[in-house]
């Protein structure tokens, strides 16, 4: 919602969404979630399939930027991104996706989602330096696409201890 609050995308256009973990992955419904958006992949298929090169990847921080004014709305990126990050804006008839709030980054601020998260579940890290035993690139339920090499890392949730009263 911090993202919606920041950009007020058209109704139905969501850049970052929160997905409930299935009970096979985490034993309680609506108690553990992945917050997912564009992964700013090392080898972004969105960029590779765009006929008008409406995407570029920033050298300094790797953010994959979509330039909406160049976009002709062909839908290639929307169809080819296996993470479903680019969405179709039905009003502008063009694609759009998470910008990593690059304008905020350039201004020394955090992205809206990171700023808005009350539990610090979202953080920006430098993947070149980030090294944590419990962190994985592909947690259960998150699609594995090594060819794209998504720039994300997940700290796995600790499994809850079940204490149940006999009913």
């Amino acid at each position: 919602m911090a993202c919606k609050n920041q950009y007020h995308q058209e109704n139905g256009v969501i850049w970052r969404d929160v997905y409930e973990l299935k009970e096979e992955i985490y034993p309680h419904r609506e108690r553990a979630f992945y917050s997912l958006a564009c992964n700013h992949c090392e080898n972004p298929t969105c960029l590779n399939v765009c006929p008008v090169v409406a995407y570029y990847k920033r050298d300094a921080d790797g953010v994959v930027v979509h330039e909406q004014d160049k976009c002709i709305g062909c839908g290639n990126c929307i169809r080819s991104c296996p993470y479903g990050a680019p969405r179709y804006n039905p009003v502008l008839k063009r694609a759009e996706k998470c910008s990593f709030c690059w304008q905020r980054l350039d201004d020394g601020r955090k992205p809206a989602c990171v700023l808005g998260c009350p539990t610090d579940a979202l953080q920006i890290v430098d993947l070149a330096e980030f090294d944590e035993a419990n962190a994985v690139q592909y947690p259960a339920g998150f699609p594995r696409y090594p060819a794209l090499n998504p720039s994300v890392s997940f700290r796995l949730p600790a499994m809850p201890k079940m204490i149940r009263r006999k009913l």
């Binding site: 919602m1 919606k4 609050n5 139905g12 969404d17 929160v18 419904r29 609506e30 108690r31 009913l167």
Partner: protein, 326 residues
């Protein structure tokens, strides 16, 4: 009046009876208990005026609706429940269309009443909302928040200089400043000074019904806003798989939650997060959706609450209902 029994009060007050209902800063039909009784009660006043930003279920039943300013259109002070922060809300845009702030509406009403019958209303007949806001401050407030002027709040909110924990100074907030095993205060307010066993409210249906607050709103506010609704589209009730099996209910079924008060119809999610003898659904007002949990919550008083708030609370944790597949 007991504010937790709005419907009952509207129906039974007779010395004098309530002839005009003026509703402001509250969505009575979504927040107050026993909706079926409220629908009856709303037939009683000769005129119902509501001051609102949205077309709520309360507005649907009002004779006159006055559009009120949003936080973007007015100067006001924000002080909230459950935290110590105070902030100033500056007007960002002029009020749109016919919207007026609550204070301006009150002043206009006062002006008209005094024209019809001089002296009939003591509220000022002309107010400037910004001046009115400034008058909400005094030295005590400045001291409490460690500021010199309300204008200091333009730099950011201020936090009350209060300790967040009780007993931090090794004193309790009791008259004796000690832990009281036999509090006279309790006895003075109609309770037993010494604890005694009291039987809980007897279940009148098969499942305990819980209607807590949702993370997506405050009572009926915010849930209706388009961009919030993207993440919380519609209401659900939550039921234990065991309770569902007994009733032939599967995950995602459309169900009725019903009791002696009334019923609601919605989709069910099965989860062991709720005990087997509980049905849970959130208090909410969704846009273009008639869902209302108060259709199955009655207004029976709880035993405590009068000392702090002037009226006993409502036994919202002792409500009962059953669920059936539609």
């Amino acid at each position: 009046m007991n504010i937790n029994k709005t419907a009952e009060m509207l129906l039974t007050a007779d010395a004098p009876p309530i002839r005009v209902l003026w509703i402001s800063c509250k969505n009575v039909l979504s927040q107050d208990f026993d909706r079926p009784k409220m629908l009856e009660a709303f037939k009683k006043p000769e005129i119902i005026v509501s001051v609102e930003q949205f077309f709520t279920q309360t507005v649907e039943l009002s004779d006159i609706v006055l559009p009120v300013t949003t936080l973007f259109e007015e100067y006001t002070i924000n002080a909230s429940y459950w935290h110590y922060w105070l902030s100033v809300n500056e007007q960002a845009i002029k009020p749109m269309y016919e919207a007026k702030s609550n204070i301006e509406i009150a002043a206009a009403l006062s002006a008209r009443m005094n024209k019809l019958k001089p002296g009939s209303c003591t509220f000022p007949t002309e107010v400037d909302p910004r001046q009115w806001m400034i008058r909400e401050f005094n030295q005590d407030i400045y001291d409490l928040f460690g500021i010199d002027s309300w204008e200091d709040l333009k730099n950011g909110p201020a936090k009350a200089k209060m300790h967040p924990a009780s007993w931090h100074d090794l004193e309790f907030g009791t008259p004796s400043k000690k832990y009281e095993f036999r509090p006279d205060l309790c006895a003075e307010h109609g309770h037993q000074a010494l604890p005694e066993f009291k039987e809980a409210r007897k279940p009148y249906d098969k499942l305990r019904l819980l209607t807590p607050h949702t993370k997506f709103g405050i009572h009926s506010q915010f849930i209706n806003i388009d961009w919030m609704a993207e993440f919380n589209k519609k209401p659900y009730c939550y039921l234990h798989p065991g309770a569902a099996r007994e009733r032939g209910i599967s995950d995602g079924d459309q169900v009725r939650v019903f009791n002696k008060v009334g019923e609601v119809e919605l989709e069910v999610k099965l989860t062991e997060n709720v005990p087997a003898d509980v049905v849970m659904m959130y208090e909410a007002w969704f846009k273009n959706n008639s869902y209302n949990c108060q259709s199955v919550v009655d207004d029976t008083s709880s035993d405590m609450g009068k000392y702090k708030t002037g009226a006993p609370g409502v036994a919202i944790h002792d409500q009962f209902a059953d669920v059936a597949k539609v």
